[in-house]
Symmetry: C2
Subunit: 266 residues, 2 copies
DNA sequence: GAGTCGACTG
DNA sequence: CAGTCGACTC
């Protein structure tokens, strides 16, 4: 089973790339983020034409996630509320307004597709939102881990787990996506639940990136970040075959600033 | 000598069309309107690469005119003020803020390239501006007619001279571009000076258009207007060979809403 | 419907 | 730098 993640930075602007990529990389499920489109305008038909059903949770302009699957998914749900119950506690009741969470089950694997808030700048209001969102994610994942099946949590985490995941980490100690509080949140939210970073498990070397800023010719200089991840639950450990970054689409015309990452389970 | 006029609706968006058209229609001078770009950003080099020098008068977002010429032009000037003298009368001192007028001389022919205000809606403030602008144009053209050479006045006039120049004129009696006051202004400003509509002189039939609204599939229905004209002074009368509308570029991908018109002088 | 800009986000 | 939207113009 192959499960890929790709922040497409607008599904409408990137539709041709997604179609071309899926035709050459027939993964079972592609988790996309930043679809930036309301559900009514999501290009479902174009994806159905190449054999993929789209499960979507979109909003206007910002955010938006979708699961593109060759086989029907079961138990699909959107947002934290669907799992944690409604109403959420007052402090987190707003977190589902931004469409950043969708999940579904294929075979005996639950797939969670996340678009973690960017956080803007360390200490900003958006940064506090990001940390609050991650705290809620922990409860969400804990609930899903109670299910009797494997769990794959993937998406754009907007966090580089350690310095190997950043081009020239010196001086970025308090940069957004690398700050101690964000890394600690990732630890508490994901790793402490027993979930494992599949790519890092297999590839210990530094300098493997999934996102390159459009500005400053970052891709040409390979000045990237590894912020798109797959985390797998313990019971999937012995099914882990590989996890690879496909840098090719980042080099296409008018690309997304992210490139796909593919998890293969045996 | 061939002198063409084309409202390109953004020279930057239409650069490839203009280059392709000039390579297949090597006119001596192409008068373009609605360049929508400040002079610093006008794509002069791309036009020089195909043998055309650009004389430009641009502004941000709106309006903007240019003369693209294979041979150097003489006595190039921009705006009413350059001819009528500055300061203009107080009632018209603002008319050169919008870049709608450029002129130059090739051989013994003065070419005036105009982008007449659209006027928005009959009776509106913009409509009054259009009529005021046309009144000033009369003085401008009278001055130029004193020069001892032929005069070609072309561009986007945003006026259909008579009902043959409108698809289904019924009900458009007081439509912008067809209202009596606009037609009268065209008569007073241009025709009463002895200038002749070159296209109409040679082609009396109705239904020959140069502009089709992007909306309502106007081009497919041929629901157009003839609002792009060449007016020639009496001394050029016996040099008039032809005046033709080239509808082809209106059918290209992502076209301007106007198509070129070519005047040929012997 | 298609071009522009400016504000916003990443 | 690249995507979105909303306001504006034609």
């Amino acid at each position: 089973m192959k499960i890929a993640t790709w922040n497409v930075n607008s599904i409408r602007s990137r539709l041709a790339h997604v179609v071309e990529w899926l035709e050459n990389q027939p993964v079972d499920v592609l988790c996309v983020q930043e679809t930036k489109v309301v559900d009514a305008d999501f290009p479902k038909a174009d994806l159905e034409a190449i054999g993929y059903t789209a499960y979507i949770s979109g909003q206007k302009s910002y955010n938006g996630v979708a699961l593109l699957s060759r086989e029907p998914l079961e138990s699909v749900s959107m947002g934290f509320t669907s799992v944690l119950g409604s109403p959420l506690a007052e402090t987190i009741a707003d977190l589902d307004e931004q469409k950043r969470v969708i999940t579904g089950v294929l075979g005996n694997v639950r797939i969670v597709n996340l678009y973690v808030p960017n956080g803007s700048a360390v200490g900003s209001e958006k940064y506090e939102y990001k940390l609050r969102w991650l705290a809620t994610l922990r409860d969400y994942l804990k609930s899903l881990l109670l299910e009797d099946q494997g769990l794959v949590v993937c998406g754009d985490f907007n966090i580089a787990p350690d310095d190997r995941d950043i081009y020239k980490p010196e001086g970025k100690e308090n940069h957004i996506m690398a700050s101690p509080a964000e890394r600690q949140a990732l630890q508490t939210t994901v790793l402490d639940l027993g979930l494992v970073d599949a790519f890092r498990q297999l590839h210990p070397e530094a300098g493997q990136f999934t996102w390159w800023d459009y500005r400053t010719a970052a891709f040409r200089r390979d000045a990237g970040w590894r912020i798109d991840h797959h985390y797998i639950s313990p019971q999937l450990g012995d099914r882990l075959v590989d996890c690879v970054i496909d840098k090719v689409p980042r080099g296409w015309e008018k690309p997304s600033d992210h490139t796909p990452v593919i998890l293969e389970l045996g």
